[in-house]
């Protein structure tokens, strides 16, 4: 467990600049909250706030999709895996690192939302439930991205992740809502992007259950594949 934590904290450290850029968006929302008249502009503020999870998902997909490849290409992975580190622990460390980063982002978003939207009458309980949904969606998206990154280059891993997350949404539009449960990232974010000041808090826990099972499945699959990959070969 300590090994996973060490790899995760190192991952966050290495990704500090993208994380800071991510947090900049929260800061922008904060500044807008300071400048705007919350009571009259609350709908506009909500729309801005509802864009924030998209950046989190993008971070999860892009960073997750490139995580393994970049470490292999830079050869820094060799020094790490020459220690008593199992491949599964390495994958777990990368995933936990992405979750750490997104938890930080989610926490800042939640605090900003509580302050800015709370003044406009947004339900605080609903807001933190939405934060939890957002985090779950991000963890699932990053698990899918890391899974593809174990055997694909960043470009293809990102494309494959985009397809894996997007296809259930298209299927839902074509054939019905149940298809969205295939990989329920959209369902987890839906309540966030459709939330209004009058939305009552009625959580649907089914996407969370499916997401939890899928996160574990993708994590195990990624670990299994990565344990069988040659990591010290030329990548180009």
């Amino acid at each position: 467990m300590r090994t996973v934590f060490l790899i995760a904290s190192n991952f966050v450290r290495e990704q500090r600049w993208p994380i800071l850029v991510l947090l900049l968006w929260v800061l922008v929302t904060c500044v807008l909250g300071l400048m705007a008249d919350v009571r009259s502009d609350r709908e506009d503020l909500l729309v801005i706030f509802q864009q924030l999870p998209i950046y989190g998902i993008a971070f999860a997909v892009f960073i997750g999709g490139a995580a393994i490849h970049n470490e292999r290409k830079s050869r820094r992975i060799l020094a790490v895996l020459s220690k008593g580190v199992r491949r599964g622990e390495y994958i777990s460390g990368v995933l936990v690192g992405i979750v750490f980063a997104l938890m930080l982002y989610g926490l800042c978003m939640g605090l900003t939302g509580t302050w800015v939207l709370g003044q406009g009458g947004f339900s605080i309980a609903l807001l933190w439930f939405l934060m939890f949904s957002f985090l779950m969606a991000c963890v699932l998206a990053s698990a899918v991205a890391v899974f593809f990154s174990t055997f694909m280059t960043p470009l293809f891993a990102t494309l494959a992740t985009g397809l894996a997350l997007g296809i259930p949404f298209v299927m839902m539009l074509q054939f019905g809502r149940d298809w969205a449960y295939l990989i329920p990232v959209y369902l987890l974010l839906e309540s966030f992007v459709k939330a209004t000041f009058s939305t009552p808090w009625q959580p649907d826990w089914r996407p969370f259950v499916v997401a939890t099972v899928e996160i574990v499945a993708f994590w195990l699959l990624a670990s299994w594949i990565f344990a069988r990959r040659d990591i010290a070969v030329a990548l180009d």
Partner: protein, 309 residues
């Protein structure tokens, strides 16, 4: 008795996704055993398969066929790697202050607390990095980076050290201190597997060497055994005319010439018959460089057969 590192008929093929690019066989039925407590030199030209063998032993890749053991466990065992120190060729490290980085790698090996801090400081000091211990390695020269790489390999006080070109970027002073460090490690009972192109270094510190070429083991043996196997002697004589022996060189009244070992006795008798005096007779010791060139430029059919240890 099992070796510290053991390759048993290991082959490794690199296959491309595209059939037109074909397949490269980096190691071909490769067998080798490294004994406990020795400094073992692993030599070969570029692309011979040295790094592939090392990466297989470390578990960075899987053999196409055959198997191997490291400290009694199959290649790739994470728990075994805690007792191993590894330095990769062209070391790549995270950008952190040097001593903090060494502590990070030590922690990955399960070390913690004050013992980790103490050991990290010890190795940083041993490698002459104390004054730069708080500097970020991003600002380091290649030689300094290599020293940090060595420090992270040594931080867990490993039973087995696997070093891939450990002195290639070091200045002569640092090279000498690394050499001393290796000799001290051997004294402490550790085994060192050293892959290097610095043949003079290898000749100075290694007990045994293996030469690999095109993925096959082409020479294996003790340094003295390999270098003295030329079957020639150099005779130094006084009081004989230089033209009495083919290829003889004369200087300061001394005549120096080479003879086949089988012709040594007759050459000595001839010196005495000519009224001369023998000053010395020494077996000719070729340099490791000469041996290396000889075996790596020869046909690969010279490979040592299966099961060689």
């Amino acid at each position: 008795m099992p070796g510290v590192i053991e390759f048993v008929n290991v082959s490794k093929e690199y296959k491309s996704w595209f059939p037109s690019r074909g397949m490269v066989r980096a190691l071909d039925d490769f067998s080798l055993q490294v004994e406990d407590g020795e400094i073992f030199g692993f030599l070969g030209p570029n692309g011979a398969g040295k790094s592939t063998a090392i990466h297989l032993a470390m578990g960075f890749m899987r053999a196409t066929s055959g198997h191997g053991l490291m400290l009694g466990k199959g290649f790739g065992d994470a728990a075994t790697r805690r007792r191993v120190g590894f330095l990769a060729e062209n070391v790549a490290l995270y950008h952190r202050p040097a001593e903090q980085l060494v502590r990070f790698y030590g922690a990955l090996n399960g070390m913690r607390g004050s013992s980790l801090a103490r050991r990290a400081h010890e190795v940083v000091e041993a490698l002459g990095l104390v004054s730069d211990a708080r500097r970020n390695v991003r600002q380091f020269s290649r030689g300094m980076l290599q020293r940090v790489g060595l420090a992270q390999a040594l931080v867990n006080d490993p039973q087995l050290l696997i070093l891939d070109e450990p002195t290639s970027a070091l200045d002569p002073v640092a090279r000498v201190s690394v050499r001393e460090l290796l000799l001290e490690s051997r004294k402490a009972g550790k085994t060192i597997f050293l892959s290097s192109h610095m043949l003079s270094e290898v000749e100075l510190v290694c007990d045994r060497v293996a030469v690999v070429n095109r993925g096959r083991l082409v020479r294996l043996g003790g340094i003295s055994e390999l270098l003295e196997s030329r079957q020639e002697s150099e005779i130094l004589a006084r009081g004989v005319p230089p033209n009495s022996f083919p290829g003889a060189i004369s200087s300061d009244g001394l005549v120096r010439f080479l003879v086949e070992a089988t012709a040594q006795r007759s050459a000595l008798q001839r010196v005495w018959a000519l009224g001369g005096e023998i000053v010395s007779v020494n077996p000719v010791r070729r340099s490791l460089e000469e041996l290396f060139l000889e075996v790596t430029t020869a046909n690969s059919s010279d490979a040592i057969g299966k099961g060689t240890t």
